[in-house]
Symmetry: C2
Subunit: 197 residues, 2 copies
């Protein structure tokens, strides 16, 4: 059997290393690129190099930024007394898209996961403790997964010694959801957290 | 709302231009790349540039190759009397993976599709006619789609004036399929094309 040209195989291998890209998808992308104009491929390779050269981690919140500290940490119009704790930098943009949160963020860099060997020392808990101020509100916005819940409990524990208010995101029905298809755990949380109309 | 860094947005835009990559996937890939080591990203951008510099179209079969003509067209052990007509270069590798076809290929570069403005002049029919030899077998291996079938009928028509045998791939049950879930059109073809055991 004749195999693909070496450079094509190398590109397929590189695509396969990206998350959610399997062998078939990688092949389709590589063939698309081989068919497309030189121009657009150079744009992609330039964009790749560009992002790695320019984007760095914000030294305050650990989010991504081109200028350190990032525009959220330096924005004086933002409320310094509310700090939203997220797992990863991309979670910041989930909140920013809503235009509803005006506080600041702190990226943990992951979640506690003993099975994967990730303990408290691997996350930015120390940096968080340094940012605490009196009477601050800490909104724990880890994912509603087992690891996320564990991390939020750990956070509540280490923050209990400080004079801060610790809250977490509400659990309940997702907007647009259908009661018929909502899982039991969510429904229990929705009933427990019911509010008056 | 604070938006992503410019370079990150540019990378997301470039990923979105690839087939099958939507906004969400592009964001996930971009964040993965911003988190990953410099090393592997350079490998990807190098591979992109490499593939565009080295890979070209074979002047005989229109397949992809680093050396023109390609290794299939120059392989003297391959049967010159059978020519398999495929839509796109990647279809060659679908056959090559089976290790069951020892003839040569001809890539049309697409299918006839009047709605998309693709007519006979846009495909490599002329180049195909130049490759014809007496008593050759032409295996039409276009996709079993409407456009693929149209193209195969057109091929049969223009080849009818030459002393060649024109065949096409069998239609029938896919191996591993289940009669319960096979569509009617396929089942009709499978019944029509039944063979003795």
């Amino acid at each position: 059997m004749r195999s693909l040209p070496d450079s094509a195989n190398r590109l397929i291998d590189e695509f396969t290393r990206l998350p959610g890209i399997g062998k078939k998808t990688a092949q389709r992308l590589a063939f698309y690129i081989m068919k497309s104009k030189d121009y657009s491929t150079n744009l992609l390779s330039d964009a790749l190099i560009d992002v790695k050269t320019k984007v760095r981690q914000c030294s305050i919140c650990n989010g991504i930024t081109e200028d350190d500290p990032c525009s959220i940490c330096t924005d004086s119009r933002r409320d310094e007394s509310i700090l939203c704790i997220v797992e990863e930098a991309h979670d910041i943009y989930a909140f920013e898209r809503t235009n509803s949160f005006n506080g600041r963020y702190h990226v943990l860099g992951g979640v506690l996961s003993p099975l994967d060997g990730i303990g408290p020392d691997d996350l930015y808990f120390d940096a968080l403790l340094k940012r605490l101020q009196e009477n601050m509100e800490i909104v724990v916005a880890t994912n509603p997964s087992v690891e996320g819940e564990t991390t939020s409990l750990y956070l509540a524990k280490i923050l209990s010694g400080f004079n801060v208010k610790v809250t977490r995101l509400a659990r309940g029905l997702p907007v647009g959801g259908n009661l018929e298809y909502i899982d039991e755990a969510t429904l229990i949380r929705a009933m427990e957290g019911r509010t008056s109309i």
